[in-house]
């Protein structure tokens, strides 16, 4: 057992971008680090809840006159800066946190202690919500050319693949097994999306172990079978999502890419998405740039450029567009791979399907898509998201990039998605929170071994239970029917920095009134009004006592959109019980004040007046407490 310093008083919380600070008490619990502002009424006190799993690094900075600074960076892009008065306390906090944020085994993760007060049946129902075999049925699989195979039922052919896989009818088990032996980590070509209209398939795999000259007849047969399964096209595309140079380098290690001479009728294509190490460095650089105080436009734009982040985002979107065009316009089947086929391949396959199929742009469909292309096909969430104390070189924001790409598309097509960015941000939050079982571990096999379905809860049922928070009020299903395939612009000027993701906790950066929040409120009000109108009409000419009752009850339930009430500033559907109400003190529009924006420090003869008390609306916190 280690020493746990559970309560430290008189701690200062410094604002990241201004000179403001709040004083309060730090509490350390088994799951959270909690800061509660002191000196104000409990209803308006600022609270900051940080889940230990969200912490990516804790740094003790050198001692200052006011105390010992502790800098905490989180995976959800929150950065908090505490100053602890006594060095001893700071050290205790620091070492406790270090121990807490590096669990060594999965059963230490929050998901195993998290209890939303559901019974076993509700839990089971939550897990049954997403059914991938139903999803393949929706696509029209099995069919005459594609069928289910039990070749991987013991995870013997490929331990990072799911049990249930779909392959061409013409690919016999020996061919599959042979092909898997010629592919990195045994990840043979398997179906991930079927475009029924043109009978074109999207398959995924890892790189072939071709080296400089090796070939494998079973693998060649496998690709032939995929090609033959599509009567509409003579050829298939093989998309290697890596830069050509990386693929060439792999040949020296006995891996590599398909030799067009050995495979009949393939069209081979590199698309040049960088590897996990480049992506990790890119995000790190990006966060450094946008985390700077008093950032100039020049430093911002040059930093954005040199981080390469938007260039990578564009490369992924470009690849997805290539895939979508090949399938929908040419009717060709496509085989996608990278090195191991669980990072770039997952990005491109899922984003491509999102462009082709409006179903994936619904709330439920998006969950299915993530479950299929990311979770079941073995994107290594545990490694990439650093769930356990692992190899830092394995950590990479591959899934974050996918969400970023989806957001870019939603900006170009405001009516195409049933969900809003809050949904994406909330998913991102929980990919790292380890509060639900969905994203734990690296593969389906590991998840089964840990009996996650029995011991943890599913995020999806939780998200669906508060679906109204995540809906995009502008979504049009009719539009999706008219234009099912999205054709986004690939011009660089249409790719933007996603402020609400990377600055989700930096309130001063956000629009001060949220359009999305406003529209959701209006829509909710309309629903209530519809009901009210209906009731009022139904009552019609009934007797007076009934009327009186209705009038009295309606006056209390009918929402009014009072104009003078400014809207809360944060895009925060997650505010729940236990969070501070807004203060009644003097205020400008919510969260908008002159000094926190640092237009200029007006010192000298005129001492700056105290700002009105600011209320903190923390994002994502309420859910941690349930």
């Amino acid at each position: 057992s280690f020493h746990l310093r559970s309560l430290v008083e008189q701690v200062k919380l410094l604002d990241r971008f201004s000179n403001r600070s709040t004083t309060g008490t730090l509490h350390l619990t088994a799951t959270h680090l909690i800061f509660v502002e002191s000196g104000t009424s409990s209803s308006s006190a600022q609270e900051v809840w940080i889940l230990h799993h969200h912490i990516s690094s804790v740094e003790k900075l050198s001692l200052t006159t006011s105390g010992c600074p502790l800098l905490i960076q989180c995976r959800n892009f929150r950065v908090v800066h505490f100053v602890v008065p006594r060095e001893r306390d700071c050290h205790d906090l620091y070492s406790s946190l270090l121990r807490l944020l590096r669990p060594v085994s999965f059963d230490e993760l929050y998901a195993f202690s998290y209890n939303p007060k559901q019974n076993d049946q509700q839990r089971e129902e939550g897990w049954q919500l997403i059914d991938l075999s139903a999803e393949f049925e929706r696509m029209g699989v099995p069919c005459d050319q594609w069928h289910w195979t039990d070749v991987n039922r013991e995870y013997k052919v490929c331990d990072s693949y799911p049990r249930d896989l779909y392959v061409p009818v013409a690919a016999s088990k020996p061919i599959i097994v042979g092909s898997s032996k010629f592919r990195s980590k045994g990840r043979f070509p398997a179906l991930t999306y079927f475009y029924q209209e043109k009978k074109a398939a999207v398959c995924r795999c890892s790189q072939p172990l071709s080296g400089f000259s090796a070939r494998c007849l079973e693998d060649e047969h496998m690709l032939q079978a995929i090609s033959k399964a599509n009567p509409n096209s003579r050829y298939i595309y093989v998309m290697d999502t890596r830069p050509k140079l990386n693929a060439l380098a792999n040949r020296a290690a006995g891996k590599g890419y398909e030799n067009e001479d050995n495979y009949s009728n393939i069209r081979f294509q590199f698309v040049g998405i960088e590897n996990i190490h480049v992506m990790r460095a890119s995000l790190q650089k990006l966060l450094e740039v946008v985390g700077a105080r008093a950032l100039s436009v020049t430093d911002y734009l040059l930093g954005l450029e040199s981080s390469g982040w938007l260039r990578h985002i564009k490369a992924i979107v470009d690849a997805a567009i290539f895939l979508s065009k090949a399938v929908t316009a040419e009717g060709a089947s496509v085989l996608v791979h990278c090195s191991d086929g669980w990072d770039r391949t997952a990005q491109v396959c899922s984003l491509g399907a999102l462009l082709m199929d409006p179903y994936y742009r619904t709330l439920k469909g998006f969950m299915v898509l993530i479950e299929k292309d990311w979770i079941s096909f073995g994107h290594k969430f545990a490694d990439r998201c650093d769930q356990l104390d692992g190899d830092p070189k394995e950590v990479s924001p591959i899934f974050t990039q996918f969400l970023d790409c989806v957001w870019q598309l939603s900006e170009q097509f405001p009516q195409a998605f049933q969900f809003s960015e809050w949904f994406l941000i909330q998913i991102h939050e929980h990919v790292h929170s380890c509060q639900f079982g969905n994203f734990l571990c690296n593969s389906q096999r590991q998840r089964e071994e840990l009996q996650l379905r029995e011991k943890t809860y599913s995020l999806w049922s939780f998200l669906l239970s508060e679906q109204h928070n995540y809906e995009n009020p502008l979504y049009s299903a009719a539009l999706a029917e008219r234009n099912p395939v999205l054709e986004p612009s690939t011009q660089p000027c249409h790719f933007k920095f996603w402020t609400n993701m990377y600055h989700q906790y930096d309130r001063t950066m956000h629009p001060r009134q949220s359009l999305l929040k406003h529209l959701l409120a209006v829509r909710e009000s309309s629903c209530a009004l519809e009901k009210t109108a209906h009731e009022l009409e139904a009552v019609g000419a009934r007797d007076l006592s009934v009327l009186l009752h209705v009038v009295v009850s309606l006056s209390s339930c009918c929402p009014q959109m009072d104009p003078p009430e400014p809207l809360p500033s944060l895009p925060c559907p997650l505010l729940g019980e236990g969070l501070p109400a807004r203060s009644d003190g003097e205020r400008t529009v919510e969260g908008s004040s002159a000094t926190e924006n640092s237009y200029a420090e007006l010192q000298g003869p005129f001492g700056a007046k105290a700002e009105p008390h600011l209320v903190s609306l923390e994002f994502g916190v309420a859910r941690m407490t349930c």
Binding site: L301, L302, H503, Q513, V551, V589, A600
Partner: protein, 549 residues
């Protein structure tokens, strides 16, 4: 002069028009004195009416006998006309060139335009200085309207009536005018109801290298301070630029002479630099390269977003001095007709909820830009495609609109007007059938007899059927001061202007319509429920039983 002399070929058949994100149209091209018209003549929908004054630059290309004219417009659109016949093409091109660069203002379209609508409220009389001052009079008696500039003799770029401290007489004003650039003595720009603080604007003081003083100037601006209070002077130039101005007879207020004032320098660029910035930005936006790095570095090199940030920050600073520090403010740069107005007008948007209404914003543009003497005609003579070496042209007003858009984006429910209105003002400042933005100042407008001879933009825009398009469906009056974020992450490229022509607007337009629909539907339901409630209440009291709603 007859326009006919300039039109060498009035009509060409078989011309093909290419426009961004629209199907090509083949039809007849006609040139009139003020318009370039292309009509397919098959159905009336496929027509292009382009004001010659909207044309910024044209390029000619020839392939065999097929000529192509690329027309680059001041609203940043680029269209292409394929014209069969080399001679026709050359004639059309030279005619367009001549017609789009007419020297005489009185030949401009507004003098020929006859409205197809009835003018209900004449825009020329909507925002008279005496009307605007009436409201201030009800709040304070410390200010008066002076007619010292009745004949534009004291300051050629000021209107005939200006608001000045009551304690200062006209003789003093005349003396102060000789000490300020262009005669632009300090005048009232804004009165902050909440605490009685004021914002004034002026031209730079002419201190020169010997540090010349003007007692009357000191008296005038001190007269605006409450006893024991101090104020801020916001100089929109960087300190070194202001220092250099001394050598040319200009300068800034020395602490010794103005002990009750604290001077703050901000660096808003001058107009010729802004023009270059616009040219670079538009070039970057039109670049067809797929390289992200190239786009970001070009965007950065244009410096446009830096200018936006600088202006918003300075306006916020002025507002902060007035609202948070409870101090009065004097704003000036060099002439007091460009960056000064950007700051004073934007500060009012932040401070004063009235300026965020449709009419209030028009009044602001009228007061702080047109009457305040921003030289629209000089600044908006050319836009981003001109390759005449920038002289007096500059997107000063466009930058202001961009800044307003930034604030509007951050406070989407606090403005009565929408983005379309800002885009409309941009278009009309550069080319218009209305006389509002003609001339450089009140004196010129009077001389040109604009109110008699042309129609005001406001007369048109305020007709209910037009205004509807420019109203923000999300608007809920908000009496608070709105402090925008000035972090680079919070300031976006104004796509509605700069990327308007290189994307299809269909998706965004449809989304906007859907938003309007959601809000309209809610309003309908609310009035329906209210009506039903009234009905029930009447039933309840018994006396409504026989009435029908």
């Amino acid at each position: 002069m007859e326009f006919a002399e300039l039109i060498k070929t009035p009509r060409v058949d078989g011309v093909v028009l290419h426009r961004p994100f629209m199907p090509t149209v083949e039809g007849t091209l006609c040139l009139t004195g003020h318009h370039l018209i292309l009509s397919s003549r098959q159905d009336n929908t496929e027509e292009l009416w382009l004001l010659h004054s909207n044309i910024d630059y044209i390029e000619k290309r020839f392939v065999g006998s097929l000529g192509t004219i690329i027309v680059k417009c001041k609203d940043l659109r680029i269209i292409q006309l394929d014209i069969p016949g080399m001679e026709e093409c050359l004639n059309i091109a030279s005619s367009i060139e001549a017609l789009s660069t007419l020297d005489s203002v009185s030949l401009m379209y507004p003098f020929f335009y006859r409205p197809m609508f009835e003018v209900v409220e004449d825009g020329w009389n909507m925002f008279l200085p005496e009307e605007a001052f009436k409201e201030i009079e009800t709040l304070t008696d410390e200010w008066r309207l002076s007619s010292v500039n009745k004949d534009f003799g004291v300051c050629p770029t000021y209107p005939q009536l200006v608001a000045v401290p009551k304690a200062v007489d006209d003789d003093t004003l005349r003396k102060v005018a000789t000490f300020r650039h262009g005669g632009r003595f300090p005048v009232l720009s804004y009165y902050h109801k909440k605490n009685g603080m004021v914002m004034m604007r002026a031209g730079q003081p002419l201190t020169g290298t010997n540090g010349r003083r003007c007692k009357e100037d000191e008296k005038l601006i001190n007269a605006t301070l409450r006893p024991g209070k101090r104020g801020y002077i916001i100089d929109t130039r960087a300190i070194n630029v202001a220092q250099q101005a001394k050598a040319r007879g200009g300068g800034f207020e020395q602490e010794a002479s103005y002990p009750q004032w604290r001077r703050i320098h901000k660096a808003i660029e001058r107009y010729n630099i802004l023009q270059e910035s616009l040219i670079k930005l538009v070039e970057a936006c039109n670049d067809q390269s797929q390289s992200m790095d190239r786009w970001l570095s070009k965007l950065e090199a244009s410096n446009w977003q830096t200018h936006v940030k600088e202006i918003v920050t300075t306006a916020c600073l002025a507002a902060q001095c007035i609202d948070r520090e409870g101090a009065s403010v004097l704003v000036h740069g060099t002439e007091g007709t460009d960056s000064t107005l950007q700051v004073t007008s934007l500060a009012q948007i932040i401070l004063d909820p009235c300026c965020r209404t449709m009419r209030g914003f028009q009044s602001l543009v009228e007061r702080e830009w047109l009457q305040a003497g921003h030289p629209f005609q000089q600044r908006c003579a050319q836009s981003a495609y001109s390759n005449s070496k920038a002289r007096l042209e500059a997107p000063v007003f466009l930058l202001f609109l961009d800044c307003v858009w930034q604030v509007l984006r951050q406070f989407p429910c606090s403005f009565q007007f929408n983005e379309h209105f800002l885009v409309l003002l941009f278009e009309h400042a550069y080319a218009s059938q209305f006389g509002t933005f003609l001339g450089n100042n009140a004196a010129e407008r009077l001389k040109l007899k604009l109110p008699q001879k042309t129609v005001s933009l406001w007369s048109w825009v305020n007709r209910p059927q037009e205004m509807e398009r420019f109203l923000n469906p999300l608007y809920e009056p908000n009496n608070l001061v709105i402090w925008p974020s000035v972090a680079p992450q919070s300031l976006l490229l104004w796509e509605g202007v700069f990327l308007r022509w290189n994307r299809s607007s269909k998706c965004l337009d449809e989304a906007y319509d859907e938003m309007v629909h959601i809000i309209e539907y809610n309003k309908e339901l609310q009035s329906k429920v209210n009506a039903l409630r009234r009905q029930l209440a009447q039933l309840e009291t018994g006396d409504g039983l026989l009435e029908t709603p």
